[in-house]
């Protein structure tokens, strides 16, 4: 099963990327966007971080196991589902 790493860009500069070293395994690549959107939605709905005053300014930068950028998802593109 392919593994994807969801790095969170929460502010500009080199210190503003929270690097995901563990990743999520998905049954098949077609599920990726839905998975990343659901993760972003859940974060926006119920996660309070001092480092992230505004989730909608964040972006997920997703890489595959080869380290290739496969998806960039700004949180502002994701509905909060409400």
């Amino acid at each position: 099963m392919p593994r994807y790493f969801l790095h969170l860009r929460f502010r500009g500069g080199p210190g503003g990327l929270a690097v995901d070293e563990e990743g999520d395994e998905l049954p098949y690549p077609g599920m990726l966007r839905q998975h990343v959107e659901a993760t972003a939605q859940d974060l926006m709905r119920r996660t309070r971080l001092d480092a992230v005053p505004n989730w909608r300014a964040c972006t997920f930068e997703v890489t595959d196991e080869a380290g290739q950028l496969v998806l960039t998802l700004p949180f502002s593109d994701v509905s909060t589902g409400r």
Partner: protein, 237 residues
């Protein structure tokens, strides 16, 4: 395996007992290995043994179909299966080894017999049950009131309290489960704490570098059950 001497016991609940109370428990105690992830108590299954950790610590987790969230941590200060002293034989939660080590265990029915005969021992264990209740309340308070950074700091401090060194073996995936947030939330909080020099995070290990500043960050999320433990269990009622 010879029965342990009270002076060699690291478990604080046992070590602090009056010698005659310890002597009543001692014939029933046996050493047990705490392998990582070993389940000590299954949800809704009879509690066969109670456990006194000596090294390593145990998580109490909710048993929801989709989400496990940690609601308690028990290490050398306490006992796994305290519900027995409240008169019940099953709990709806799972207790499993979160950090490997070892401990002592005794069959539940023996503990029930001993506390029936020794009200002062029973009262002491009920005071520990109260400390666990305060810890659970502290978890609810932290989850409702505090940011992920403070909750992470609290969790690291509670683990650090129960460890010999400064290295906490944990993946972000597991930590996300423990704190009830998405892994990206934990990864970001870890990144912030590391950037501020409070911890060092390598894959699978978080090292506590600056405990004092972790306590400052955790603020009111950390400390209440620890104060109550000292007040009720160490200083006495």
């Amino acid at each position: 395996m010879p029965a342990p001497l009270q002076s060699s016991v690291r478990n604080q609940l046992l070590a602090a007992l009056p010698p005659e109370d310890f002597a009543a428990l001692e014939p029933h105690l046996e050493p047990v290995e705490f392998e990582l992830r070993r389940v000590l108590i299954e949800p809704n299954q009879p509690i066969e043994h109670v456990y006194f950790p000596q090294q390593g610590y145990v998580s109490v987790c909710t048993n929801d179909r989709n989400t496990k969230i940690e609601v308690g941590i028990i290490g050398w200060e306490g006992m796994v299966g305290i519900a027995v002293t409240l008169g019940v034989r099953t709990i709806p939660f799972e207790c499993f080894v979160q950090h490997p080590g070892q401990g002592l265990r005794m069959p539940t029915h023996h503990l029930e017999e001993v506390i029936d005969e020794r009200p002062s021992l029973h009262r002491r264990m009920l005071r520990y049950a109260q400390v666990m209740s305060v810890q659970t309340s502290g978890t609810a308070f932290a989850n409702a009131e505090h940011t992920v950074e403070a909750r992470l700091a609290r969790w690291l401090l509670m683990c650090h309290d129960r460890l010999d060194g400064d290295d906490i073996q944990i993946t972000h995936d597991f930590l996300a489960m423990m704190l009830g947030v998405r892994r990206a939330g934990v990864t970001t909080a870890t990144h912030i704490l590391e950037g501020n020099g409070l911890i060092r995070a390598k894959r699978g290990v978080i090292t506590v570098l600056d405990r004092e500043r972790l306590e400052e960050l955790a603020d009111s999320a950390y400390g209440l059950p620890e104060v109550e433990y000292a007040r009720l269990m160490v200083e006495g009622p």
